[in-house]
């Protein structure tokens, strides 16, 4: 804690505030998800030190979850997917003239959820990572296979399309110089592709550019009225009343956060349903119940921390936002996973401290940011889209001072747009890109150590267990999809 308030620590706190501020603005804009808000900042973290860079990105996620609830409550338009559940009772409260109270409940429930999630993150991540420290290359290969097998739960109802997405991601990961022999692969004689396609470019293209290509044809966002901009924090009595709903949100958010693919949206809706089920007055839900705001808001803020458990301990991102954060680590030559705790523990602890600062920043900024956030939401959409696109092309150029990279990102954006039309989920693609190198390098290293004997993957007990888990998970996913559709 003392380190947090040193010179470097103060810089980290500053970046936590900046990230949170950016996240609140991004989350408040319908169509800008937390992952897009993070992707827009990703290019700017290149020149930064690792800790402020990672904290900046993680804080965007924290801020965006509160930012998303602002239009959800005031104009019935969720700024983020995870705030959709908040719309139900939040907007009803706003209609009854209690919009400021709903926003206050959202803010404080978000703080409760964020702090609870942080405790879970700190307690769960290192023990899990310590187990993974004993992994051999064969076990790492198996871990990458297990990571890819979770595409089933990320495929939004079509496992085959998830497989196509993962295949495309793995294809991208093989572009560039072969890690073992040094032979160039799939570079089309382009020197710019010899180093491979950086995951950051794939993420910015798939998330940000593709979204702008969709948004250009969408109607303008609804306007918020200025009279709604006075925030009212809940008092002691209200906090006692909200305790049960917040506890339910924290429990569900913890479970859903560590489960790859579930994420804040599922957590928020589940928490809303369970809070209604266990409420003394379930009929009040849907008619402006404060508990109906508290449960989903605490749940989706727990997820902002607990979604990092599989990322930090095993190196597997389970959500879009975690994947972007992984990109942030990779920008600085850091690989999340068990070795991170040995090689760069200061980054992990810096991230924990930064998340704490981000949650506090969320409350402090949340109390004063409402008017500017609403001003931003009310800006004409054409100017917002133009500004975001200028930010994308400038930010991408800034990474390597390469116009080629800007063109590449635009091309990836078009591919992302087309894949979206075809219903191919984005996260399996990102997973393929970020796990591709881990998969191939450890597969080939294992075979070199075993003189080409594939039995190494079943003789290593950890690898065997992980591979069996991957097979079971994939088989179960195919079976459940088949069962659902028959």
């Amino acid at each position: 804690m003392a380190a947090l308030f040193s010179g470097d620590g103060l810089v980290t706190i500053l970046f936590a505030f900046a990230g949170c501020l950016w996240g609140i603005f991004g989350g408040a804009l319908p169509g800008i998800s937390p992952s897009i808000a993070m992707a827009l900042l990703l290019p700017f973290t290149y020149g930064m030190d690792p800790i402020p860079a990672i904290v900046l990105l993680a804080s965007v996620y924290v801020g965006a979850e509160y930012g998303g609830s602002i239009p959800a409550i005031l104009i019935r338009t969720p700024g983020t997917n995870a705030s959709a559940a908040t719309t139900i009772d939040g907007y009803e409260m706003a209609r009854q003239g209690k919009g400021g109270e709903a926003l206050g409940i959202s803010l404080i429930s978000g703080l409760v959820g964020g702090l609870f999630g942080l405790v879970v993150l700190v307690l769960a991540t290192e023990p899990l990572a310590r187990v993974a420290l004993a992994f051999t290359p064969a076990a790492y290969f198996a871990l990458a296979v297990l990571g890819l097998s979770v595409i089933a739960s990320l495929s939004g109802g079509s496992l085959l399309k998830g497989v196509i997405g993962a295949g495309l991601g793995l294809m991208v990961a093989t572009v560039g110089t072969d890690p073992v022999s040094g032979v160039p692969r799939f570079t089309f004689d382009s020197p710019e592709l010899l180093g491979g396609i950086r995951p950051i470019l794939v993420m910015v293209g798939l998330f940000a550019v593709a979204e702008m290509l969709v948004q250009i044809g969408e109607p303008p966002w609804a306007k918020a009225e200025a009279r709604d901009t006075r925030l009212k924090l809940p008092g002691f009595g209200m906090m006692r009343r909200l305790f049960r709903a917040q506890a339910i949100g924290c429990g569900i958010g913890t479970f859903e956060g560590v489960t790859p693919g579930a994420g804040g949206t599922v957590a928020a809706f589940m928490a809303y349903n369970e809070a209604r089920r266990w409420s003394a007055d379930p009929d009040a839900f849907g008619k402006g119940s404060p508990e109906g705001v508290a449960a989903p808001e605490s749940a989706n803020n727990v997820v902002t921390a607990t979604a990092l458990v599989p990322l930090l301990s095993l190196g597997i991102p389970g959500s879009n936002s975690a994947a972007i954060l992984l990109g942030g680590f990779m920008v600085h030559g850091l690989t999340p996973g068990p070795l991170l705790f040995e090689r760069a523990p200061e980054v992990v602890w810096g991230l924990y401290g930064g998340l704490l600062a981000a949650n506090i920043a969320m409350v402090l900024l949340g109390m004063v940011i409402l008017t500017p956030a609403l001003w931003l939401v009310n800006r004409p959409k054409p100017y917002l889209i133009a500004a975001i696109l200028c930010l994308i092309v400038s930010g991408v150029f800034a990474i390597e001072q390469s116009v080629f990279d800007v063109g590449l990102v635009l091309g990836i954006g078009v591919v992302g747009y087309l894949l979206r039309l075809a219903g191919v989920p984005v996260l399996p693609i990102v997973l393929g890109v970020v796990l591709g190198f881990m998969l191939e390098s450890n597969y080939r290293r294992s075979l070199m150590l075993s003189a080409g004997d594939h039995a190494v993957f079943i003789e290593d007990p950890v690898a065997l267990v992980l591979l069996l888990l991957a097979v079971a998970l994939t088989a179960y996913s195919f079976w459940s999809e088949f069962k659902r559709k028959t």
Binding site: G47, L160, K161, V163, I164, A166, G167, L168, L170, M171, T174, D178, V180, S181, G182, V183, R185, F186, V209, M212, L213, V214, I216, G217, E218, P380, K381, P382, Y383, I385, A386, A387, L389, C390, L391, V393, S394, F397, A398, Q401, V403, V406, G407, L410, G413, V414, Y417, R420, L421, A422, G423, V424, L439, E440, Y443, R444, L447, M448, G452, K485
Partner: protein
């Protein structure tokens, strides 16, 4: 999702898998290479992609595609893409401040903005970005050929 879109996805994935697999087999094997070789894993990836593509095609043939959801406006998306490509082509020639200003104005106009406000917005944004990226961050953006580089 409509039947035609799913069929196109499946066929596209199969075609891509075929092309990618063919390229993988053509990768020269170095003396330093291991038993798997530089094309080994890409061949497996091609197989995975082909499996997904064939699966989608078979599923579409047997049970049809899903219902088509709300579709984005493809013409507007294509128009925006053309503007962005024009920026990529123009930035080495015009230089960053001018090109990003024109990009901002063009996108805002294309997205429905009208009036003198667009010019003011574009000029302010170009100035802000030029100051932030070039002056503050020191990033060497193209200065352009038209105005003496």
């Amino acid at each position: 999702m409509s039947r035609a879109v799913d069929a196109a996805l499946g066929a596209g994935a199969l075609a891509l898998a075929g092309a990618y697999g063919a390229m993988a087999t053509a990768i020269p094997v170095s003396m330093l290479s291991d038993a798997v070789g530089p094309g080994g894993v890409p061949l497996v990836v091609a197989g995975l992609l082909a499996f997904g593509g064939a699966g989608v095609l078979i599923k579409t043939a047997l049970v049809g595609g899903g219902t088509a959801g709300k579709q984005p406006d493809h013409q507007r998306a294509a128009g925006l893409f053309v503007i962005l490509v024009a920026y990529v082509v123009a930035v080495p020639l015009l230089g960053y401040p001018l090109a990003v200003g024109i990009l901002a104005a063009a996108v805002a106009f294309f997205a429905g903005g009208r009036g003198i406000g667009i010019v003011a917005f574009a000029a302010a944004l170009a100035g802000l970005f030029w100051f932030g990226f070039v002056k503050l961050l020191g990033i060497p953006f193209p200065s352009g050929l038209l105005f003496g580089g």
